[in-house]
Amino acid sequence: MGGTKLNSNQAELAQLARREHFTFFGLTLPYLVLVGAMIIAPIGWLFFLSFIGRDGSFSIENYERMINSKAYIRIFLTTFKISILTTFFCALLGYPLAYFMSQISRKWANICMIGVLIPFWTSLLVRTYAWLVLLQKKGLVNTIAVDLGLLSEPIKFVHNTSGTLIGMVHIMLPFLILPLYANMRAIDPHCVKAASSLGATSIRAFWTVFFPLSMPGLLAGLLIVFVLCLGFYVTPAVLGGGKVIMAAMKISSNIELYFSWGAASALGVVLLAVTMLILFIASKLVSLDQFGQRS
């Protein structure tokens, strides 16, 4: 008797669970439709267009061109090099800052946060040109340094890779700090204290307890920064002085040059594919789930 009752209860629960699944699925349906219409369909269209040649017929000329001209490979290498370096320097600068902000009182942390957010709210173009004004040969920084005798001749800060990196790191930093800081704030300070009470030095407590717990925020920040960097256009165009040509810039010039969407979208498809490959390899190397469970 008791067994049957338990079974019928179980069946009822299972039915409820199923119903709940359907309800949730129903609720996510509009979102799925939106993603399908706004993201999947355009990317599919992009993919399709990349196989259309200049004369409007099916062709792989857009991909052939990328193999035949060394410029395309170099442009992709530059794109990934700049994106990786920007992400690296963002982490180098952003991690200590986010850590510092998570250790001080909320009041002071909020004041620091304003410092992070004000540049974030300023137009990207304005910030990019501001760097140009500051760092060019006869810009503020060089002029002052030369006048004070710190430099014998002006340093070439801009119109090269370093200028591009300075501008991009500055623009991307908030994207790393925001998720990282939120993550660090959520870490229970008692965990670090517990480690210390068990005899760990403060450095050991940080590396074995705090740092692993902050990994999800750090990885989220790194991912956002890296992916956003891949599509950068304005900052490398202005601060790179033509020495730094990234994929987005070539996409734009290909539309002008070939008058065809295919010549541009093939670049987009390759960029997307390589990015997905890199992220796949990265996810194999560093398992996000592992850290997710620990926190």
Binding site: A71, R74, T78, I245
Partner: protein, 353 residues
Amino acid sequence: MKSFCMVKKVAVAAFLLGFASFSTASFADETLRIVSWGGAYQKGQSVGIFQPAAEAMGITVKEDTYGGISDVKLMVKSGADKFDIFSSGAGGCASGGAEGILEKLDYSVIDVSNHLPGMYSDYCAGADIFSVVAAWNTETYGDNGPRSWADFFDVEKFPGTRAMRAKVDSQLEAALLADGVAKEDIYKVLDSEEGIDRALDKIRSIKPHIAVWWTSGAQHAQLMKDGEVDMTTGWNGRFDVAKLDGAKVAYDWKTGIMDWEGYGIPKGVKNKDLAMKYIAEMMKPEYMAEFAKYITYGPTNKLVYELNLMEEARARQMPSHPDNAKHQMTLRTDWYAKWRTIAAEKYTEMMTE
């Protein structure tokens, strides 16, 4: 009380103005829309050409800016109807014409009998002439700057940083002139991949000295004004404007590569006939003379010089003034129609090496 009267006056004026514009609009529903490049250039066009020509014809002309021939292509291909006439470089028109997105201009309506030779084409009615020149910083070199392309490419005689264009346009011609090719033979040499490579190798030879690859006229003017580079290729009018603005810059017409800008009509516009008549009106010398007061881009209509519509001193600053033009070579758009994509890809390859 006084301010109230003021408000009332303004209100009445606004009402009357609104009424006036309404009534003219209803009488002359002939409106044309023209697009150009904005900045100092379009300001000169607007004040010197677009609006006076519209007034003379009794029509309304609305102006906007655009991003070049690819915008025309997008408009025509998507069936949108945004403008009737666009201002474009000869090369842009030539490639648009080859793509079949432009209306053929009717030269029985548009009078080009007084145009300088070659300054009009099937799809582009030439309106002004500009030159690509080698400009130098007079603080670095004084009066003895690079007065020829050979000087520009000679890093021993003229040590210093250079800037060149990030696009291939008129850079290969400069390189070949520096390499000793006569200006008459430039396009003969460039008419093969070997010739293009020869020009690119010349640029490669000074690549370590090229500090910036510029992408816009505003940028190369700024580079000279800020002293970021010691010499650059660029458009003469921009340097003249920068000079008025205090830039220490000079150039020699012997480096000039003349190119021209004109008007074209996108395929399938409803106001095609009116647009044709309007372009015909804009070709008159008095408008070109007026435009040249604002920026040093010379008239394509030689009547401007023959009728002395421009002050002598101003006329001497124009690329197309006979004394300046005789030193220069003229850019050929048919070469660009044939070789642009190949040359552009090779140029990018050279830049990224």
